[in-house]
């Protein structure tokens, strides 16, 4: 097995509240894996822990076989794990250009390579070219989501973690975002996506994990999970 990311028996708590109670999963290179589940299931906590923002109580997170549990987020970026958090968190008072260049903070392959990547991103996301010198805070929600993804890609990640990329966006913009995600995947990126929109998640992802109250309630190829019975079972614990 040559999993890019492997998580074993992961437990994470906030104070006395257990958010994750023994999660195990793995992601192969170039897979697109979705995580779905009701609010409070621990989906964001899972991504935050992989990105280094929360420390596991128990269990391990392995990137290409090497443990990365408890490592600071700034180090993990350098090792190829980038998180686009829920709510996008672009730097609103900085320009689009500054936001994109900040994405390349950990890169050591020189100015020319970074400049070439900025160009590549602007080709990918033409709207950002028009807004290049504007403050990022002036962008629309969809544009900010594009910028957040472009910024994460500037780090040249191997594993991209996306937390609710469609949240709060108009349907048309959501399809644009997912078109981008599909293209990234074709380019060889590995993605772990938390998505509220079950239908969308199952359509996009190779495999899907269903999280419920900190445990994996169901998992499998998205096509297999795509029967209401299974999902109903996962969400409500009973077949309809």
């Amino acid at each position: 097995m040559s999993a890019l990311l492997r998580i074993e028996d992961l437990h994470v708590s906030y104070g006395s509240i257990a958010a994750l109670k023994g999660i195990s999963l793995s992601i192969e290179p170039n897979e697109l894996v979705a995580i779905i589940g009701p609010n409070g299931a621990g989906k964001s906590t899972l991504l935050r822990t992989v990105a280094g923002l929360s420390a596991p109580l128990r269990g391990s997170v392995l990137l290409r076989g090497a443990s990365i549990s408890g490592r600071a987020p700034e180090r993990l970026v350098a090792e190829g794990v980038s998180l686009v958090p829920e709510g996008r968190h672009i730097f609103g008072s900085l320009t689009v250009e500054e936001n994109m260049r900040l994405g390349a903070t950990t890169r050591r392959d020189g100015r020319a390579a970074v400049a070439a990547d900025v160009e590549r991103m602007l080709d990918h996301f033409p709207i950002l070219r028009q807004r290049f010198r504007q403050r990022a805070g002036q962008l629309s929600g969809g544009e900010q989501q594009m910028l957040a993804i472009a910024r994460a890609l500037m780090a040249a990640p191997k594993l991209l973690l996306l937390d609710e990329p469609s949240l709060g966006l108009a349907p048309l913009v959501v399809s644009a975002v997912y078109e981008t995600i599909g293209r990234l995947r074709k380019d060889g990126l590995t993605l772990l996506v938390v998505e509220q929109n079950i239908e969308l998640a199952l359509r996009m992802a190779d495999r899907t994990y269903v999280l419920d109250t900190g445990r994996i309630a169901a998992s499998g190829r998205s096509s297999e999970l795509n029967s209401m019975a299974n999902l109903h079972q996962a969400y409500f614990g009973t077949a309809p």
Binding site: A51, L53, E74, H89, F91, G92, S93, L94, E98, T106
Partner: protein, 293 residues
Amino acid sequence: MNLLQTAIDAMNLGAIYALAALGVGLIFSVMRLINFAHGELIAAVGFTVYALDGQSVWIRVGCGLLAGVALALIMERAAFRPLRGANPATLLVTSFAVSYLLQHLIVLIFGARPIGVSLMPELSDSIALGDLRLPKLEIATIAATLTLLGALVLFFRRLPLGIQMRAASEDFTMARLVGIKANKVIATAFALSGALAAFLGFYEVAQSGTISYRMGVDLVLVAFVAAVVGGMGSLSGAALGGLLVGVTSVALQTFLPAPWRPYRDAFLFGLFIVFLIGRPQGLIARKAHRERV
């Protein structure tokens, strides 16, 4: 003519308060820490200048600057880094503890009584222009402040580290998620605030000719008010708030009826209380501060 004189006095005090507010605001913007021990950085610089009495002015100023920066970095490493991510109240109380500790360390070594020190006495003259009297120290202060502010603007706009600091002050967690090193950004903020404190230390010594263990305390209180008036967490807000507090203070001193003048500070802070009731976010509002993790 008198008005021009007042304007220059106002600029001078505004410049000092702006630098003080920036020193406090810088730390707050990246760490959500209100560092009351900033005043002791100023005092440490004053006492360094005093200890090197007899040396050339460049050595005294150079070592003073070094002392301010070094003490700020030590403070960060020893007192505040272990508390990174603690709630703001804990950080605030710690900064009081550091402040008292340093004050009493100074008392232990140098005593509690004010000590006369002379630094750059040539700046205490004035240049007479007609009936306008321009104290050289005020001119030098305004010029140095403008230079410092210009350098800071260049740093924050042009240099990668400056841009990283702006990003960190806006959203510290996200800054870490793009790979900005938390320690580097916070240490830089402390080093800069130490350098700003050094400048204030030189000014205090040159202006008053005395040093004491409490020499930075009042200035930091005003700086804190100025930073809040400017909009806590915004650097341009801090500079603007400092300028506003300084200018208002001099204006009150000049235009209040004579019997009221002893109560100038009551009017000054009263005005800003009214201002903050109307505009609690300060001059330059920032987005709601996000939880730091």
